[in-house]
């Protein structure tokens, strides 16, 4: 039972890290990144491929994080000077191109067969169940990221991000280089997604392109929206709720007379319905302050 809880918690932690990166982009800066999963994939595959070609695991992880940030820069350059929704369109396309690349460049990624047999940090040195160590590693990282982000968003830097979210014309009228801040937010958010990717790879011990379908991005979205945008604590709570929902409905099949593909579709539909209803009726999320609701109308 404990083992099972630990295993579930690791997934919660990984999704919390993944989503907290998105929260910096959307919650604080107002950037609509619909291709967050692309950065997760880059982090995971870079870590694994570097390690499989002989690099130490820590260096491999670092490369995954840096490469994810670099792709954040590349995606940001053509889009972040333009209207908000162009970023949404380009990122969703970007993440699909990443997935297609992983699927088709078999010489590098073995395509649909996926990759396995890579190291995990300190695996040889851990005398107990590795999952316990991974649990500590994931939650330790989440804690560090949480603290660093809290420090950042409560600094003058974070203040500029929020002003961009609210109205970027004001930010530039006050002398802030809006483009630079957006790029920074996107790069940091992507780097965090890259790290989540590395942890995902460690947890699964086998990665393939199917792990990185567009829907993964929207799990992060529902986590952030549920928790209330611009609330890092809320994001962590959101990750717990979404994962509980997934774990809780996993065995639905035994009780409901529906085919498994129907149950899968139903579970995803719930996410879509929640996204629509929350944005319509409770955009401040579960943790958001109520007074925010009436603003700007």
């Amino acid at each position: 039972m404990i083992d099972y809880l630990v295993a579930i918690s690791i997934i919660v932690g990984i999704y919390a890290i993944f989503a907290i990166g998105l929260n910096l982009e959307w919650g604080f800066t107002g950037l609509i990144n619909f291709g967050h999963v692309g950065f997760l994939a880059i982090g995971a595959y870079t870590t694994v491929l570097m390690n499989l070609s002989g690099a130490p695991i820590w260096l491999s992880m670092a490369s995954g994080v840096v490469l994810a940030a670099f792709f954040g820069l590349l995606v940001g350059i053509p889009t972040l000077r333009l209207r908000e929704d162009y970023l949404a369109i380009v990122t969703i396309g970007f993440s699909e191109i990443v997935r297609l690349f992983l699927l088709n460049e078999e010489w590098l990624t073995r395509g649909p067969m996926g990759l396995f047999g890579y190291d995990r940090p300190f695996e040889a040195m851990i005398p107990f169940d590795y999952n316990y160590f991974l649990f500590i590693l994931v939650f330790g990282s989440l804690a560090v990221i949480y603290l660093l982000l809290e420090k950042l968003v409560h600094s003058p830097w974070g203040r500029v991000l929020k002003s961009i979210r609210e109205d970027e014309d004001v930010a530039s009228a006050l002398g802030k280089d809006v483009f630079r801040y957006k790029i920074q937010a996107l790069m940091i958010g992507s780097a965090i997604a890259g790290l989540a990717g590395a942890f995902l790879a460690f947890n699964m011990q086998y990665i393939n392109p199917r792990n990185f379908i567009p829907m993964e991005t929207f799990y992060a979205w529902i986590i952030v929206v549920l928790g209330g945008s611009a609330r890092n604590k809320g994001t962590i709570l959101g990750a717990i709720i979404v994962q509980s929902f997934y774990t809780g409905t996993r065995y639905l099949q035994d009780y409901v007379p529906l085919a498994s593909h129907q149950i899968a579709a139903l579970r995803v539909m719930v996410i879509g319905v929640l996204l629509v209803l929350l944005m319509m009726y409770k955009p401040q999320g579960l943790l958001g302050r109520k007074e925010e609701l009436t603003l700007g109308q």
Partner: protein, 254 residues
């Protein structure tokens, strides 16, 4: 000797086929207050947007402190001292009133990620100074009691004050105010007029769009009258105000 801080030459801007600004030229001398008047649709706000860089101009020249600035992005103009407010107020709704003001000061060390982690003391000290200044400013603008409220909860007039206070926090050389008195109660509007004059004495320059003729005549050193995308008349407020063309635009055309 009098210095021109802002010089605009033959600015033109078309939207589709329509000429919004049609060869506007004028100058603002340093440490003066210039009022810009004209009927709705005369092109005043468009002119502001061109000067501050929100719109790309089709032709013409803009000099700020002697330097050509047509190609300079908005935020750089603000950094060298040209700051504007907006006709449709832009409060940053989901930020508190105090946060709105704290955003103002330029080149804050805490706006750089590396300083936040490497020079926390410097950032904290600077932040303390900024907070102090912001509180003083809030006091003046009668917004102190709302400092921790979301800016989105302010009334229309209060948002206008907030915007001006926020712009002042940047220590601008020149402020471009787009209808700063609209919706502000008369007592406070008078007080603002006094404050603007005081800031001028301390070296600041103003360009103000305003519809209230009494206030704009009272505050301005010179008035410029804009009609159909051009500045067609400039001079002492009393003279401009009584010019038949101005009377016609304000009374005749509505």
């Amino acid at each position: 000797m009098v210095q021109e801080i802002l010089k605009v030459r033959d600015l033109k801007k078309y939207f589709g086929g329509v000429m919004a600004v049609d060869g506007a030229s004028f100058s603002v001398e340093e440490q003066t207050i210039k009022g810009l008047i004209g009927a709705n649709g005369a092109g005043k706000t468009t002119l502001f947007n061109l000067i501050t860089g929100y719109y790309k101009l089709d032709s013409g020249k803009i000099f700020f402190k002697g330097e050509r600035v047509e190609q300079m992005p908005t935020f750089k103009k603000a950094q060298i001292g040209m700051v504007r407010t907006f006709q449709l107020t832009k409060a940053l709704s989901r930020m508190t009133v105090l946060e709105n003001l704290l955003l103002g000061p330029k080149m804050q060390s805490g706006e750089h990620i590396r300083n936040i982690f490497l020079r926390p003391k410097m950032v904290a000290d600077e932040e303390a100074r900024i907070v102090e200044k912001a509180l003083e400013t809030l006091e003046f603008f009668d917004l102190m009691h709302m400092k921790d409220d979301y800016a989105g909860a302010l009334s229309g007039g209060q948002k206008r004050l907030l915007e001006m206070a926020r712009a002042l926090m940047t220590d601008p050389k020149m402020l471009l105010l787009d209808e700063p008195f609209a919706g502000v109660n008369p007592t406070l509007a008078r007080k603002l007029v006094g404050r603007i004059k005081e800031l001028k004495e301390r070296g600041m320059t103003f360009l103000i769009i305003e519809h209230d003729m009494t206030l704009i005549t009272e505050v301005s050193d010179t008035l410029s009258f804009m009609n159909q995308g051009r500045i067609i008349l400039e001079g002492a407020p009393e003279d401009v105000k009584h010019d038949p063309r101005v009377l016609d635009a304000y009374l005749g055309g509505g």
